[in-house]
Amino acid sequence: MSRQTIIWALIGLLFVGFISFRALAGRMGRIYVEPKVQAFEEVPADPIPWADQGDRPPRATWNPVTPPAGAIDRRGVWQETDQSGAKIIGWTSWREIKATEVFEARAEALRTGGREPESRLSWPRTIGLWLAALFTLAAFSFLYRDNPFYKFTESVVVGASAAYYMVVGFWDVLVPKLFGALVPWVVREVVQPTLRDPSLADRLAMAAALVLGVMLLMQLVPKVRWMGVWPLAFIIGTFAGLKLFTFIDSDLLGQLRAATAQSPLVVVKELVPGQPLGTGEMIWQSFLASLQNSLLLIGTVCTLFYFFFSMEQKGAAGRVARVGVWFLMITFGAVFGFTVMGRVTLLAKRFEFLFDDWLWLIDPRGVHQLVSTILGVVAGA
């Protein structure tokens, strides 16, 4: 074993030892939740006397009721019938709470001999937190070199992300729009009882979309791949139409308006009542505002001139284009600065996650103060 390997192994062992100690003695990286039991009682709807035979019967309404005793210990969605024969459906949802609150409530209960609070450790969320921390470290391990931990993390995020966005598309678009127009009775019975009846135009459009969608999936079959060009043409055509109008309206005309009408070259500041502004100061402010607007216009025109390739940029034209390049360079510098800042902010956030949410070594939000941790240990939380 090389010396470097031994050093890294020792550092790794020290890290694991530290984490184990913090997890067992310091109770780090835990998420606590409190229950909220919900129960609803069915109130059957009165039939509508003037309804036609083909009309949908009105749906029953569900009123919130006090959950029965012991409902908190039931798992998942439960159903029961009360004495009057009305159906009751309920479930328990869990809200994340500060560890501080849990420890203090338990310490208080221990001191006064009162009832233990209902809050408890959430195993799924705690496991999730640990996984998130370990995957974050695995991602950072790439800074050393490409390694199996990083590759594993990459594989997990690729698989999960692809499926996640597919699920989002399914529930947010396909179910309400496509299935809602083609098989509305199914969507009403399963997901969305308030779904309105689709118009004939909606049905026809969605039937066409379904056909195009199936043709798009034909891209996967080599023999009929040519079919995929039709929906692709529809997508490209629609996108081109949408962008043509949007870009001309908001970017081209909007920016031209901002560069001309909204930025006068000569600005005269008026004396605002109650604002102690001397005449000299007013003239100076007016001059600065005029200079700023003039620079804005000069910069815009010169930069646009640099992008004008229909004539050779020599002589006066070349000098104007050169000024445009200077403006562009300053813009790129600002963009670069902001990019670096954004990435560093993300990095800081990840470190904050590791040291605050996971290791509990810092506590900027007052979620798991050391005092509370000690109280928790004392109370046997």
């Binding site: 997508i235 970017d251 620079l295």
Partner: protein, 231 residues
Amino acid sequence: MRRLLPLWIAAIAGFTVIASNFIPRVLGFGDLVTEMFNVLAAVAFVLGAASIAKVHLTKVSAKRPGWGYSVVTLLCFAATLAVGFLKVGVAPAPLTPDLPFSGSYSEPGGAIWWIYEYLIAPITAALFSLLAFFVASAAFRAFRAKNLEAGLLLGTAFIILLGRTAASAYLTGWFPPAIEGLKLENLSLYIMQVFNTAGNRAIMIGIALGVAATSLRILLGIDRSYLGAGE
């Protein structure tokens, strides 16, 4: 026919959307076309996911190097898909408790929420934050103020970076009121308000003209590159 029909489909769809912005009677058609576009975009996600699955299945079946990671990808893909479609761990909506699937798939506590909250979000954030190191090292190696333009870019980046941190107060906080405008935070603000705005404005106008020209070329059938080879 195979190549002419797609051109007409693209033209009709595109011009319908454009016309719906100007002719009230066409507004409904424009909305329908946009809805169809949204549905097809969702189907494109399915196509993309199926393509990923196909690539990784091929890799696993051929036992190519790194096929173990493909198994991990496929397992994560299948598991996320299953819990997402079945809304595992999601309670019904309070107004319709008799419909098990009426709750929102992304409800806190549900399986898909858990996957996003504890896998996708932290890993993607960590991967993006790695760029901080790479951007810094690349900048260190690549940036040399060899000429005026490069100096402008480098100087602006430094002023913007320093002007928005606590360092600016230490470096230029002591400037007297007479030269207050030269304080780093004021310089940074001025650069953003004037030079950056002017440059961005010109770039946006250029992009808008480019998008308009490209869109028209596609809708009029001049640009047929999306039809594939042969055109």
